[in-house]
């Protein structure tokens, strides 16, 4: 194996390349990135970049020298447009055909749009550095921002924008923010926090259309005909995996590239990061995770599996994410989605402490925490990794 092509120039692609080099792989690594920027970090886009605490230069994941030392055949600003699986080559938008012995697909996701609103000035999505820089320029005191979608991106932007003096209306289609992912209990707490900071959170809000006049957005019309006036609108209604370029290749891609427990989509073809829906044996379920730490962990795991075909390891992580909102750090371990029970073990918003445990079947599957000590969180992580029965986990952690 002497030619590895990694399609995707963000955290997952970079981690894969680094893992390969660290393990001694000396062959060619072609790293293809759709964006013109060298690999950069995305979580700060909805945090420090929007607040203005950081300039874009702080997002660079590796310095020039570090990147140079990886000896990459770097193809930036060039999307991949096709895959010839049997012939073993990737087609790029600039007409190049890049042959490979092994392929890593780390093309990530893109924001879902409201149909017809993509090109209206003042309507934003937030995924790339360019998105964040243009949104940042609009977040001025007294302006009106309507955010469609109260997920992680919507909530983080609401928190930052409110802090900057922007009048924020946050629209959630369901009864509570993030309830599908984190459960009703967490949803109630998050709703209370938004409202406590002056955000106009509207639940059960169905958006009918984006209203514009004179070539710029003027508001959002809801299904009940209410029009919410806006200087800017952020559409934060989730993401779509970038798998279209794999169409007709024979790879299976529904909601993400379908991979097995080794993150393999086909012989010598692997998926990494947001785009990959792989079978996580620790939870015995297929999952696709759009969180930063998973991209790096999966990249390293795939690098190992590429170089050790006779000693591949299943990728069985305890997923982790964090979200910064209103000066609080929300952290979670495990697989919270599809839980059967979410139990509040501690809730003290005045002191900014929250601990919710999640049960799936008869085991502890996840934990969500605010203001907990790292030792407590690591103890929970260990219980989740060990597939600890729910009753044992609750007894062990509440007895101390």
């Amino acid at each position: 194996m002497n030619r590895i092509v990694i399609v995707g120039g963000s955290a997952g692609g970079l981690a894969t390349a680094e893992g390969l080099r660290r393990a001694g792989y000396a062959g060619v690594i072609t790293l293809v990135g759709q964006e013109p920027h060298p690999p950069y970090d995305r979580p700060p886009l909805s945090k420090q970049i929007l607040t203005g605490q950081w300039g874009p230069d702080r997002l660079t994941l590796r310095g020039k020298e570090e990147l140079h030392s990886l000896s990459l055949d770097l193809r930036l600003g060039v999307p991949a447009i096709g895959l010839d699986l049997s012939g073993g080559s990737v087609a790029l938008a600039d007409g190049a055909e890049v042959p490979y012995d092994a392929l890593v697909i780390a093309t990530g996701v893109r924001p879902r749009h409201l149909p017809g609103s993509e090109v209206v000035p003042g309507v934003h999505t937030l995924r790339t550095l360019d998105d964040a820089v243009s949104l940042k320029a609009r977040l001025l005191p007294g302006r009106r921002l309507v955010i469609v979608g109260a997920g992680f991106v919507g909530a983080e932007v609401a928190a930052v924008a409110t802090g900057l003096g922007v009048k924020v209306t946050l629209l959630e289609a369901g009864p509570l923010p993030l309830a599908q992912a984190l459960g009703e209990q967490a949803g109630h707490v998050l709703a209370e926090i938004h409202r406590g900071h002056g955000v106009d959170l509207r639940t059960h809000a169905a958006v009918a259309e984006i209203v514009s006049a004179g070539g710029a957005v003027t508001g959002v019309r809801l299904a009940d005909d209410t029009v919410l006036p806006a200087d800017d609108v952020l559409v934060a209604i989730g993401s779509v995996p970038n798998t279209e370029w794999l169409g007709g290749s024979g790879l299976s891609a529904g909601d993400g590239l379908v991979c097995d427990e080794f993150s393999a989509a086909a012989p010598s073809v692997y998926g990494v990061g947001d785009v990959a829906r792989w079978h996580n044996p620790l939870f015995d379920t297929a999952m696709r995770i759009e969180h930063r730490t998973n991209a790096a962990e999966q990249g390293l795991a795939v690098a190992h599996n590429l170089l050790h075909p006779q000693a591949r390891r299943p990728f069985a992580p305890v997923p982790y994410f964090w979200s910064d909102q209103y000066g609080m750090k929300i952290q979670a371990y495990g697989h919270l989605r599809d839980h059967d029970e979410a139990r509040i073990l501690e809730s003290n918003l005045a002191e900014r402490r929250l601990l919710i445990a999640y049960r799936t079947g008869d085991r502890v599957a996840g934990v969500l925490a605010v203001g907990m000590s790292p030792k407590i969180l690591r103890a929970w992580r260990a219980l989740i990794a060990a597939r600890t029965p729910w009753a044992t986990a609750i007894t062990d952690t509440t007895a101390a």
Binding site: A11, A15, E18, G19, R22, D41, P43, R58, T60, L61, R62, R292, T293, A296, E297, L300, Y320, W322, K329, Q331, S373, P374, K375, L377, R378, R381
Partner: protein, 63 residues
């Protein structure tokens, strides 16, 4: 080796991988570097910690 505490996001991945070199502050979970010049036996784990750090806050100087 250096760590940028103001970049750290308190994920604790480094502590899980190399507890003899990294720790977290009790109050906010930010990284604490226990050993600026870790023992050779920890090099692989330290490199992995730097690689998975979600804030790219760990910088290695390898001679």
């Amino acid at each position: 080796m250096t760590v940028e505490a103001d970049k750290c996001v308190a994920a604790g991945q480094c502590v899980l991988i190399t507890p003899e070199v990294f720790d977290q502050r009790e109050e906010d979970g930010l990284v604490v570097l226990l050993d600026e010049t870790p023992a050779p036996g920890t090099y692989d784990a330290v490199r992995e910690s730097a690689a998975v750090c979600p804030a790219a806050a760990i910088h290695l100087v390898e001679s």
